[in-house]
Symmetry: C2
């Protein structure tokens, strides 16, 4: 760990790998000796062309992606995808959504602006504490949309819902690339970069090319997937610096051993923390055990009145960003790919000490 850095449990924008940060810093004023900083270069020049093509190639390798899919770099975060998905893919049909929390609800509310929405499954009646497995997909739905990981409620799909022949669409913003992924199950998968991929300001989407045929004419040009696919995401100036950092994060992932290795680490990290929570009556997890997220570990202190003190002391001890989302309270440890295992051990040590001092 670089001196004077603290443990960053932020839900996003989130911690980046230190190797990546150092490389980015070294190229900010003069990119690989070309005489220009990496944020100052034309998006049509050979250096940036190598960056964006490198990012794409790296992502293809990590996912063993077939040529049936196109990778695009866009902006506006997942929220912009909440509009783009129905605008591009509804094609006059009803769209099915699985409702597993705040982000799903926002996606559903947005889709209703553009057509009819059916809720194919929901865990709302149990305060979104679990992932529903009984999904009632309509065979003539335009697509089935789900949120693979729910940052606020700390739940996560352990495998994809079965969409049958219906196109599966996924908001993977908070767990994309945390484990190997069989993209062939998906019609579209999208993710804002600021959790597992890089800094805020770029959104990656992978779309099965046959879905492009459904897109109606006269969409706002930057909300039409074809604008990106047909121009390799260079119809206009893309967010070059965020894409550069994504490229470095993808290289880092490959250097770590790829998605199988990162999954091992993620399971080990989350397992350590959930074990510590379960080992004590002082803490309790908020998500049902079969639905727990490997990325966002949400928990309460059994005596909730102690939470403000817990959070304050944790912050003072160098654990940043542990406060639960303002809509639910409690504690949340976001431990994405780049979060170091040592930070988990240190947090567990702190939790035990806090418990002892209040025992």
């Amino acid at each position: 760990m670089i001196e004077n850095r603290i443990y960053n449990f932020s839900a996003g924008p989130a911690v980046l790998p230190e190797d990546v940060l150092v490389r980015v810093r070294d190229n900010l004023v003069n990119y690989k000796g070309c005489g220009l900083g990496v944020a100052e270069m034309s998006h049509r020049g050979k250096e940036f062309t190598q960056i964006i093509e490198g990012a794409e190639a790296s992502l293809k390798r990590l996912l063993s992606l077939s040529d049936d899919y196109a990778i695009i770099f866009t902006t506006g975060g997942a929220t912009n995808q909440f509009s783009m998905v129905p605008m591009n893919l509804m094609a006059g049909k009803t769209a099915d959504y699985i409702n597993t929390g705040s982000w799903s609800k926002k996606a559903i509310a947005e889709a209703k602006k553009f057509g009819e929405v059916r809720v194919a499954a929901s865990s709302q009646e149990e305060s979104f504490s679990y992932i529903p497995t009984d999904v009632d997909v309509s065979s003539d739905a335009a697509y089935l949309h789900f949120t693979s990981n729910n940052t606020i409620f700390g739940t996560q799909f352990s495998s994809e819902p079965d969409a049958g022949s219906v196109a599966l669409v996924c908001d993977a913003s908070s767990d994309f690339l945390h484990k190997p992924l069989d993209v062939s199950k998906y019609g579209l998968i999208y993710a804002g970069a600021q959790k597992n991929l890089g800094p805020a300001g770029v959104t990656i989407a992978i779309i099965r090319k046959d879905l492009l045929d459904r897109i109606p004419e006269n969409l706002p040009i930057m909300l039409d997937y074809r604008t990106y696919v047909e121009n390799n995401s260079l119809y206009n100036t893309p967010p070059t610096f965020p894409i550069y950092v994504v490229r470095e994060v993808l290289s880092w992932l490959e250097a770590q051993g790829g998605l199988a290795e990162i999954e091992k680490r993620n399971r080990r990290k989350a397992g350590m923390l959930y074990d510590a929570i379960d080992a004590s009556d002082f803490y309790r997890g908020t998500a049902r055990k079969d639905s727990r997220s490997v990325m966002n570990v949400t928990f309460r202190l059994t005596d909730e009145a102690l939470e403000p003190s817990f959070l304050e002391k944790a912050a003072a001890a160098g654990f940043s960003g542990l406060k639960g989302h303002r809509s639910v309270g409690g504690v949340r440890a976001s431990i994405y790919n780049a979060f170091p295992e040592q930070g988990i051990s240190e947090l567990i040590k702190f939790m035990r000490e806090f418990e002892s001092s209040h025992g």
Copy 2:
């Protein structure tokens, strides 16, 4: 000039002030000693709140902006604004556009998707080599849209077109903050950051608040100006790092003496280069003299066959990005706010030497 950096004449993404680059580099791993890098911090934490509020306050000071206006930070570049402007502001009426080149044409084509467009003035018949002054604004137009500076043709409005009582809307992407600006003349002014403001990935818009009343319901949420105004551009995760760099560029502008001082420098820089072009029959400017841009100096070699050699030798001598836009060819020196005056002197010296060696 920092060692080993070269002169960056790129039309955008473009050169950033070296003071800013160094400060950004120093905060990339650990922002002001808080233990987190500037691209890794929550957009709802106190550090980023200070950054975005600081950027807004700085921009307000630079422009003496009244409270009738709201500043927003969005994404998707000017191209996304080409959609947002008509979707938000047409309100069932016809919109007037001034056509001064490629970007105006794209704005017009996009607006036609959403309603009726009238061309109130155009310089297309003279290959966009000048800025039309005879503008026929319809008194019942929803707004009058113009492109204040045309990067490709090297032309620029020296003052705003008279829109009468019609809301004036401006794409100022390539000359925003290059001189003092009376925002009270405008209904809406927008600019992608990557020329005068910072890195690619954030777009700034300033909107007169009364125009928000026109906005229809059920727009895609990230294309509705109200989403930004009502949430201080924090409805979802904004592009935090690009906004941080913008904040630093605005501070730099203030430290230089503000817009009056930067205008002096810009006029001096452009004046030196145009004088050099006019002093020789070897070079010729492409824009009509009364319409010349202070930001993008476009010129040809009288013997166009020499241009490839000129560009190649210039690049070898450390002048990057001088090639004219692919749609028009020739030479283009983009000399935005952050471009150093010394680079102009050096380029002129190079131009004279090239001329001598081909005399």
